[in-house]
């Protein structure tokens, strides 16, 4: 009987062999796929196992993980300031995360390869691994000032401030906003329900208006048109005279380009400075047509428009002056209309570039990342993105923009004892909707510490001054907060 017994033994061996091969397949080959399957609730628990790093700005804690005793979940993510920093920190929901929480997820949860040494030390000293802490460039006082000022207007909009010399983002406000605490709970039903509600809201509170969408920049874009015009011929200056008719004839069309409200601009022939102060449309339309599409595009590119998509670290929507069309389209693009679409961040970069003697710095939000014991992981290194204009052009433009604030449409942005430069804007949108109010500015001219862009959706009441009326005071509040720190 030993013959068949031996064969039966081989059969048993084969059965165990098959089981072993199969568990190797499951636990070594297919392990990652099974581990990451969305239906595997372990990922859900694991999200709350680690003490996630803090997100801070200045002396404020924007996001932290708090231990939750007697619960299935060890740590709960808390945002002490509620909606104030929502679009910056993002949220930490059961299955996803957004903004900084998303872009630095692996550092915050401690799984990043750059924390390997820290994790190894923790393993041997038997300490629970903690995530790295992320410190932002945001100035809490300025953020609060911008948020409060924009909220008081009762409109939707965006405020962004950057440090011209480094590119550090000092303020990033988008209204309406949401409370990230509501999206960071552990009850999937509650969180997903709330998310769907916010997502369906027609005011789109989940969108970060500073970087997620583009708007026609309106007259604020004239700063760029002016920069291009000055840069092309160094003999031009604030006092150079240009034609400023009541109506600019657009070639090959029956339409004409009027000034805002059809009004006249001076005596029909004005200085460049006057044209900018009054924000006349006709001279800028003419300037754009004189430069031509290719030149306009080239100068726009020098301010970072239409270049490599920016990551601050969140991705920034692409801005652009629109496709090459006829001269009429170009004239309209030159005053920030037609297909000209900019993010508020891009407009702030234009103001910052002018303030920083023509150098546009790459904008960034993360100041420093350090592991739980304070060891440095990542520190911001300011980087020049482009050189937009020469220092001479920048100097001329700065003077003209200061004049806009002192004598022109933006008197609401004046700060005593500080030289502020700015440009208002009113962007027409869809038929029957109030235009968007814009304002870009920088201060101080001699030592630029802050450049701001403010957008108030449908914030214009009807006159060109409304950019200065609605948006400029918000920018002023932010600039004061930054300069005063």
């Amino acid at each position: 009987m030993n013959g068949p017994l031996k064969r039966a033994s081989i059969a048993c061996l084969l059965m165990f062999g098959l089981l072993m091969v199969n568990i190797n397949y499951l636990q070594a080959v297919r392990a990652d796929q099974l581990r990451e399957d969305p239906r595997n609730n372990r990922n859900f628990y694991a999200r709350y196992e680690v003490e996630r790093g803090r997100i801070t700005a200045g002396n404020e804690v924007l996001a932290e993980s708090v231990e939750k005793p007697d619960s299935d979940f060890r740590f709960q993510r808390k945002y002490p300031h509620g909606p104030l920093y929502a679009h910056i920190t993002g949220f930490f929901s059961p299955e996803s995360e957004s903004a900084i929480e998303r872009s630095r997820d692996s550092l915050l949860d401690g799984s990043d390869p750059s924390l390997l040494v820290r994790r190894s030390i923790d393993l041997f000293t038997n300490k629970a691994t903690k995530g790295a802490n992320v410190d932002l460039t945001i100035v809490p006082k300025a953020q609060e000032a911008g948020y409060e000022a924009l909220r008081r207007s009762g409109k939707r909009g965006a405020v962004v401030a950057i440090a011209p010399k480094t590119g550090a983002i000092l303020t990033m406000v988008s209204v309406p906003t949401y409370d990230p605490n509501e999206l960071s709970g552990t009850n999937k039903g509650d969180v997903f329900g709330r998310y769907a509600e916010l997502d369906k809201n027609k005011n789109k509170p989940l969108i970060n208006r500073v970087i997620d969408r583009t708007y026609p920049p309106g007259s604020t874009f004239k700063a760029l048109t002016m920069a291009a015009y000055l840069e092309e011929d160094s003999s031009r200056g604030p006092s150079t005279m240009v034609e400023a008719p009541q109506l600019l004839d657009l070639p090959n069309t029956s339409a004409d380009l009027p000034n805002y409200g059809g009004s006249a601009c001076g005596a029909g022939r004005v200085t460049l400075q006057f044209a900018l102060e009054r924000s006349c449309n006709t001279p800028f339309g003419a300037m754009g047509m004189e430069l031509g599409y290719d030149k306009m595009l080239e100068h726009a590119k020098k301010f970072g428009i239409g270049g490599e998509p920016l990551e601050i670290p969140m991705g920034v929507a692409g801005s652009g002056i629109g496709p090459k069309e006829d001269a009429a389209a170009l004239a309209q693009a030159s005053i920030g209309q037609r297909s000209n679409q900019m993010t508020p961040l891009q407009m702030a970069m234009i103001a910052a570039g002018i303030a920083n003697d023509g150098k546009v710095m790459k904008p960034y939000l993360i100041n420093k990342i350090a592991d739980a014991e304070g060891g440095e992981v990542e520190t911001a290194k300011p980087e020049e993105l482009t050189t937009a204009i020469s220092p001479e052009t920048a100097d001329k433009l700065q003077q003209m923009m200061v004049s806009v604030v002192n004598n022109g449409t933006a008197t609401a942005a004046r700060i005593p004892g500080v030289e502020v430069g700015g440009k208002t804007g009113t962007a027409e949108t869809a038929e029957g909707q109030a235009p968007h109010a814009w304002f870009i500015s920088f201060a101080d001219v001699q030592d630029p510490e802050v450049a701001v862009a403010v957008l108030v959706e449908s914030g214009s009441a009807g006159t060109d001054a409304s950019g200065g009326h609605t948006a400029a005071p918000i920018a002023k509040a932010v600039m004061e907060a930054v300069l005063d720190r």
Binding site: A8, C12, L19, L26, A31, D37, R42
Partner: protein, 459 residues
């Protein structure tokens, strides 16, 4: 017990009792370490009950060892320590699952049943001095096996749990008689096949390369087939059905050396299973789940693939090294303390732990098969072979099921799953193997009286 071996050319097997004791101590130490590890991971403390559990298990296996040393001194030294290790790891896992919040898992009950199991092991060794006595009870065993198998169907006695009618209520406890039926039927198969093997081995017609058996000898195969299908249909117990029929076919092959029996058996079972699949939804559903466990529709269906997938998710998450004892999420796996204990173990001990566990099972089976090869009479060979095979086959069916190697059919993971009946029956199974290995390894006595060889088959 000094044995003089003068004049024998064959080297005598050593008793190796010291080694056995050391291995037992090692097994208990591993189990206690695992207990401590669970406690440290769950609440940072060594669990208060660790000493009780450890000493309890240690005391029990020491008693078993002493009984073995006295009543089966030549027994294989590896079997008891290996079984102690698997049983102990099972206890730790159930303890761990209980601390994870499962209301159905109870480590203390399982420890109690382990105790009863070890007592049954000892009693079997003490009472059954010569396992060949079982051969005289061939038909009694067969009858008892059948009775146990159908007992859950008796109104008032049977209980339906989790959709399978495989339990009987004894008032104080629920018993799963199929576990004992399994033992009785292997004894019956061994006795019956030893008596009939010459007839069953007779060749009938030759088809291609295979000698078909004679048609009239198909009777017993068909009866077993019918009983197995009956279990499948009436008790909705796919696992036991597959277990019994497979074991019968394997033993038939060992007894007759006829490959044709294996082929006929496989054909019959596949045919029967396909028929059952056509007739009964639950059989077809299992097969559907086996083929497409990841299908979202099946996953979210009640009674669909969620249970299987949760087990696979657990194993995948465990990966190569596992999460560590006490650091997984066994509460996410349905039935983690019984059918799916292997998957729960895989999460916390990882591929490494499961490979070790399968090796331990394989070693137990190997020691059993070795006993079978060394046995001196056909009945012992067949019984030891059958018991070893049924153990391997059971591990294959349940582990293969939870790892989606074969369709999932509920069965107990021997010595690990929570449940008294299975523990008791399996400890008796081990006692039988130990008894037979004792007689196989014992130096031959001077006078040989071999009933097995002189028994005349009846027709």
């Amino acid at each position: 017990m000094a044995v003089t071996t003068s004049g024998s050319a064959v080297p005598m097997p050593a008793k190796r009792r010291g080694a056995q004791l050391a291995m037992l101590a090692f097994a208990v130490a591993i189990v206690m370490g695992a207990y401590a590890s669970v406690g440290l991971a769950v609440d940072g403390r060594i669990p208060a009950g660790m000493l009780t559990y450890g000493l309890g298990l240690g005391g029990l296996v020491l008693a078993a060892y002493l009984v073995l040393a006295k009543f089966a001194p030549w027994a294989d030294p590896l079997i008891l320590p290996l079984v102690t290790l698997v049983n102990g790891i099972g206890l730790v896992m159930i303890y761990r699952i209980e601390t994870g919040g499962s209301k159905l898992a109870s480590a203390s009950t399982q420890l109690l049943w382990t105790g009863v199991g070890i007592v049954m092991f000892s009693v079997t060794l003490i009472v059954l001095r010569d396992h060949r006595a079982l051969q005289r009870m061939t038909y009694t065993a067969g009858f008892a096996g059948l009775l146990l198998l159908i007992s859950p169907l008796i109104p008032g006695l049977g209980q339906t749990l989790n959709g399978a009618r495989i339990w009987i209520s004894l008032g104080f406890a629920n018993l799963q008689p199929s576990e004992f039926a399994k033992l009785a039927l292997v004894v019956f198969f061994a006795g019956y096949l030893v008596a009939k093997r010459d007839v069953l081995a007779l060749a009938g017609r030759r088809l291609l390369f295979i000698d078909l058996p004679r048609a009239r000898d198909l009777g017993p195969v068909l009866i077993t087939w019918a009983v197995s299908l009956g279990v499948l249909v009436l008790q909705r117990d796919l696992g036991s059905s597959l277990l019994l029929f497979g074991t019968f076919i394997a033993m038939l092959y060992i007894a007759t050396q006829r490959t044709s029996w294996v082929l006929i058996g496989i054909l019959l079972f596949v045919g029967g299973a396909m028929l059952a699949g056509l007739l009964f939804d639950h059989v077809a559903a299992r097969f559907e789940v086996y083929l497409n466990p990841e299908d979202p529709e099946l996953f979210y269906k009640f009674g669909g693939s969620a249970q299987l997938m949760e087990g696979l998710f657990a194993m995948g998450t465990g990966g190569v090294l596992g999460t560590g004892l006490g650091q997984g999420h066994p509460q996410l796996i349905p039935l983690s303390f019984s059918d799916f204990i292997f998957a729960a173990t895989g999460e916390e001990l990882g591929l490494t732990g499961l490979m070790a566990l399968l090796l331990v099972y394989a070693l137990i089976v190997e020691r059993g098969l070795r006993t079978s090869l060394a046995a001196r009479d056909p009945f012992s060979k067949l019984l030891a072979g059958g018991l070893s095979f049924i153990l391997a086959w059971q591990v294959f069916i349940i582990v293969g099921g939870v790892t989606n190697l074969i369709p999932l059919t509920g069965l107990v993971t021997p010595f690990m799953s929570q449940g008294g009946s299975a523990l008791l029956a399996n400890w008796i199974l081990i006692a039988l193997l130990v008894r037979m290995s004792d007689s196989a390894r014992r130096p031959p006595p001077q006078a040989i009286q071999d009933e097995g060889m002189t028994q005349v088959f009846q027709r």
